[in-house]
Symmetry: C2
Subunit: 199 residues, 2 copies
């Protein structure tokens, strides 16, 4: 099944292609897609908003198709769960990821807190050709290391330490990360839901 992904983030797209590589979903993108203004209420709402926007765009373009959207964020406990649903706007909507990571480490340092706990959250929202919707949400727990570590990964991966692997997400291989990540959990759940619905 061809599925258009509602994203303008190539790191996410690449990761999703890997996560759905052995599935019946063939991911593709729609060049004219633009992210709608996010509601900032919850990951689930943001993902639904993006999926519905792309679904409507494709229908208007005469290409009704299944779509998939992702909304994710990093929640740092000592920062009252920020950046959270506002992750994409952390440091300003045009901030680079290195700048955001630096800001995060500095901000956490300034709190003086010993609590380094954090979690990644990923919400996925799928709409099939007939307009049926499914959604899933996964989380993974970790801590914020004192400084960036690792070159792989994107977004906040270099500042997310995953204790079971004793590495940051950016120090893990794609395959390692894709077995345990918030997005992997949400993706496997989504596939199961789609399979049940197809029966």
């Amino acid at each position: 099944m061809r599925v258009y992904v509602a994203t303008t983030n190539f790191g996410k797209l690449r990761e999703m292609e890997k996560l759905f590589a052995d599935s019946p979903l063939e991911l593709t993108t729609f060049a004219e897609y633009e992210d709608p203004v996010e509601g900032n209420t919850s990951y689930a709402e943001n993902a639904a908003l993006k999926a519905r926007a792309l679904h409507a765009q494709l229908q208007r373009a005469g290409r009704p198709s299944a779509v998939l959207a992702d909304d994710s964020g990093l929640e740092v406990y000592a920062l009252d769960r920020r950046p959270g649903v506002l992750t994409a706007f952390y440091g300003g909507a045009t901030a680079t990821w290195p700048a955001r990571r630096k800001k995060l480490l500095r901000e956490l340092e300034r709190t003086g807190s010993d609590d380094r706990r954090a979690r990644f959250v990923c919400a996925l929202h799928f709409i099939d050709e007939e307009g049926r919707e499914f959604a899933t949400m996964g989380t993974v727990d970790g801590t914020i290391p004192p400084e960036e570590r690792g070159d792989d990964g994107f977004s906040f991966d270099p500042v997310f330490f995953y204790p079971p692997a004793n590495r940051t997400f950016a120090e893990m291989t794609e395959d390692q990360k894709n077995r345990v990540s918030h997005r992997a959990i949400a993706a496997s759940a989504l596939l199961a839901g789609i399979k049940t619905a197809a029966n």
Copy 2:
């Protein structure tokens, strides 16, 4: 794994017990659980609210445990998707289900609309012993028949006609319904997410 269900609705509990019968989850209830006031923003938020309330209650009671919550509703297209997230309050919080079904049929009749489309939505929210959260959402499309049909099922099942089976949800056996329902889709997705997270 023992999982406490955040519900005071025995129909839901019974259905969830069936849906998770062959899974590693052993469902149980906590007698002191009371539904928190629902936020009425979205199914996902309501389910999360209930799960977090029960998770906190069990921790305070010295029994930290995994919990599962459900929030679901019926969306009638010609009624602007009502009752929707407010399904539990339709006709007033103390209205009986027969009264709610009657009200729904009457209200739809009054619109004079030919559009009988409706969908059931179910959001599930799971929190494991360590506090990790997963959530899923499933939907199923149908229509509102002119009058109630069938004795099985609960809530709006007798007024939800499922075209592929040519029956209302209340005319289908539990097994039939549990293969296709909004809650079945959400449940199978949830199990897949839990399995991935346990790896």
